[in-house]
């Protein structure tokens, strides 16, 4: 059984109170790390749970806004353990493995951008727990609407990571099938996707779908009109939609306090639906809270807002320089709350992460990154005339005319289809049948929904016996 029975509360630098599982708890901001990350960080269980609205001893309120108004939920009001009680040891490890591989993908993508192979990359570093926890809460009937940083959710929905990289390489604008994966295309105009999700969820109700929709957005997007219109719409029509806000503290250079005088999760009350704030760096808490929220939505009880308090550890994108607006001290504080370290400590404490398994996972991650890199750099530029494809379903005479004129200007070696691979056969430009096994690892590709047990499979190695863990 996962140990989320003992929960503690922390204050973030911005005065937010967040709830963490004590076993996975990281050191206080001002305290030195108690132990190296690989040492079991099992702390004695804290008896009882803190009362909502009352500060945990030793963590006085930062100000009048530090706690939620009485009557509002925090994660401690939900019976979180009940929502993750079914997890096997392997599934627990699987969550960690997801986060490790997604972070490794993120690191590789950043390197690829620095080497000129990607035009841009938006790093998710620091948000792995929020994305994997919520992503693994989704089932096959659910539909997720991402913003543009949800690489971890994409992973959980079985989207080929190379298809995600293809967008940032400029090969296409969205190379996966939303219907197949239950994962809509990335949305770069922040907040716009919340309305698509609200409409989609409305249709789910009419279709008597067993699923719900979840929409990802950030603290910055919470200021957009579309998000607030979506709150109102989802509420009055009582649609099955989970608003999942990753408050990563920064909207490029603007801190959350520039977006809102109140805390983001409080906003739902004004729209008439429940909300909860959860420690976004605790993958189990995020999984439990997302399952709870999705259950409400699927039961026809309307929308829920989840605010996952987390931190964007990297730059906004590779084009950003965060040293211009935030301090190394703040980064260090959050580095000690790294979601991977916390799950790692939790697993180690439970004896689920021995040296051998750890080594094996590292090898798997490196293999994965190596193959991803190879597939990324092998992606060819699309056929030049493909820029005229799919402007409309019905042929548009003006576009057809321009395509012909443009095609006539091309040299044969310039992208005529004769001397190039057929677009559909090019690597990495989409997720087609057959790519699922290309990585040789069982990582959820092609699978949307549910948990994936954490066995590691590395090509060329025999699977290690269970007792080696």
């Amino acid at each position: 059984m996962p140990s989320v029975t003992e929960l503690m509360q922390l204050l973030t630098p911005t005065g937010h109170r967040i709830t963490v599982a004590s076993r996975a708890r990281t050191p206080e901001p001002d305290a030195p790390p108690a132990a190296p990350p690989d040492r079991p960080a099992d702390t004695p269980p804290t008896p009882g749970r803190p009362t909502p609205g009352r500060p945990t001893p030793g963590h006085p309120k930062a100000g009048p806004d530090a706690g939620p108004p009485s009557g509002e939920l925090t994660a401690v009001d939900i019976d979180l353990p009940a929502y993750v009680a079914d997890l096997t040891d392997d599934e627990l490890f699987g969550l960690y493995r997801d986060m490790v591989l997604v972070r490794r993908m993120d690191e590789e993508a950043t390197s690829l951008q620095r080497q000129g192979e990607l035009g841009l990359w938006a790093s998710l570093r620091g948000q792995e727990a929020a994305q994997v926890g919520s992503g693994r809460a989704l089932g096959p009937d659910d539909m997720a609407f991402p913003s543009y940083r949800e690489h971890g959710v994409a992973w959980c929905r079985g989207v080929d990571p190379a298809a995600v990289l293809a967008i940032f390489r400029g090969v296409n604008l969205g190379g996966w099938d939303p219907a197949t994966h239950g994962f809509a295309l990335y949305s770069i105009v922040v907040g716009s996707q919340t309305l698509h999700a609200a409409g989609y969820a409305m249709g789910m109700t009419w279709d008597r779908s067993a699923g719900a929709a979840i929409v990802y957005f950030g603290d910055g997007a919470s200021s957009e009109g579309d998000v607030n219109e979506a709150f109102g719409w989802a509420s009055v029509f009582s649609v099955p939609l989970v608003f999942f806000c990753q408050n990563n503290q920064w909207a490029i250079s603007e801190p959350t306090r520039r977006q809102s005088r109140t805390e983001i999760f409080h906003r739902a009350a004004g729209f008439g639906f429940p909300s909860v704030r959860v420690d976004g760096n605790d993958v189990l808490a995020c999984l439990a809270v997302s399952r709870w929220a999705l259950a409400i939505a699927r039961a026809g009880r309307g929308p829920v807002l989840v605010e996952a308090v987390t931190y964007r550890m990297g730059a906004h994108t590779t084009a950003d320089d965060p040293t211009r607006y935030r301090s190394p001290v703040e980064l260090e504080v959050w580095r000690r709350r790294d979601p991977l370290d916390r799950m790692r400590a939790h697993l180690a404490a439970r004896g689920l992460l021995g040296e051998e398994r750890d080594r094996h996972l590292a090898l798997e991650a490196d293999t994965f990154a190596h193959e991803l890199r190879a597939r990324c750099t092998a992606m060819l530029d699309p056929d030049p005339t493909s820029l005229f494809d799919h402007v409309q379903v019905t042929e548009n005479g003006l576009v057809a005319e321009q395509r012909s004129a443009f095609a006539a200007t091309l040299d044969p070696g310039d992208g005529g289809t004769d001397d190039r691979l057929d677009r559909e056969d090019r690597p990495g430009t989409g997720d087609r049948p057959g790519t699922e096994d290309r990585l040789g690892v069982r990582n959820g590709l092609g699978v949307k929904g549910g948990l994936v047990a954490g066995e590691t499979h590395v090509p060329g190695e025999t699977q290690l016996p269970g007792e080696a863990w």
Partner: protein, 357 residues
Amino acid sequence: MTSGAVITGEQPAEVGGERTGEPATPVPITLAKALNLGLRSAMAADPKVIVMGEDVGTLGGVFRVTDGLQKEFGEARVIDTPLAESAIIGTAIGLAMRGYRPVCEIQFDGFVYPAFDQIVSQLAKLHYRSGGRIRLPVTIRIPFGGGIGAVEHHSESPEAYFCHTAGLKVVACSHPVDAHQMIQQAIRSDDPVIFLEPKRRYWEKAVVDPRPLGEVSPDGTTGLHSSAVVRAGTDATLVGYGPTVRTCLDAAEVSAADDGRSLEVVDLRSLSPLDLEPVLASVRRTGRLVVVHEAPSNVSVSAEVAARVAEQAFYSLEAPVLRVTGFDTPYPPARLEDHYLPDVDRILDAVDRSFGY
């Protein structure tokens, strides 16, 4: 070309204005009622068609275009929405992803701008963004244009913004027969359509064949995608769309009576993509072209028509392409709108100037 003759009253009247009852003699119906009939037929033909907008349900729309639809099809298919234009379009996108065919009403032209991002960045581009995987059959109905003495933001002509955006179809109806067919075609289209309704012509009447599109035009392809010659002539060509088609026809009438000139009138109907073949064919015969719309002239539909005609029929032109449009000012107070809107005199003045070359 289905409606061309109707406007000049030459098409034989068919059935009466009501779907049932079969009145003995054909009854002319208003353009608003023709749209209403078209919407009803589209909803009856496809259960995925839903109507959504502000006041479209219980009230039947501020112009009564959706009158009675909620009663007939229920609240789940005719939805009174919150007053949130971006949400109307944004949720319609989500519904279309789910397999629905939403028909959104934007109550007045000047209220479409809050939905601008959802229309131009999302609705127009998702088919392209998805490599053709996503289809968004969303129709956005917008009453447009002036001439009804309205307050600010109720008389605008925003078509150029949308014509400039790849991925959108932009159409304008001018006549009850077209309105009835084109709304059904727009709803049937797998592409998003901006459907502009000439609000000062809502009350103009004509006899309309009330049968559903499938019976009137089995292939469903006429009308929406093509421009049409609505009055034949030999001396000069007038091009209009939406509310100015009637103004052009009136001008042609006066010109024939007073000056003995034979003016041909073309209704563009589809503003994006443009169907310029009938215009080019007409210009090759007349050598003179005047384009008329209510929207301001700068970077407008008439600018595009003029440029394309100059490219493709340069040696046929006896005079420069001239334009009669709204002025490049904000839409003025209602007491001044008669000066702002193109009228018969301004059109005839332009025709005179064309003949002066």
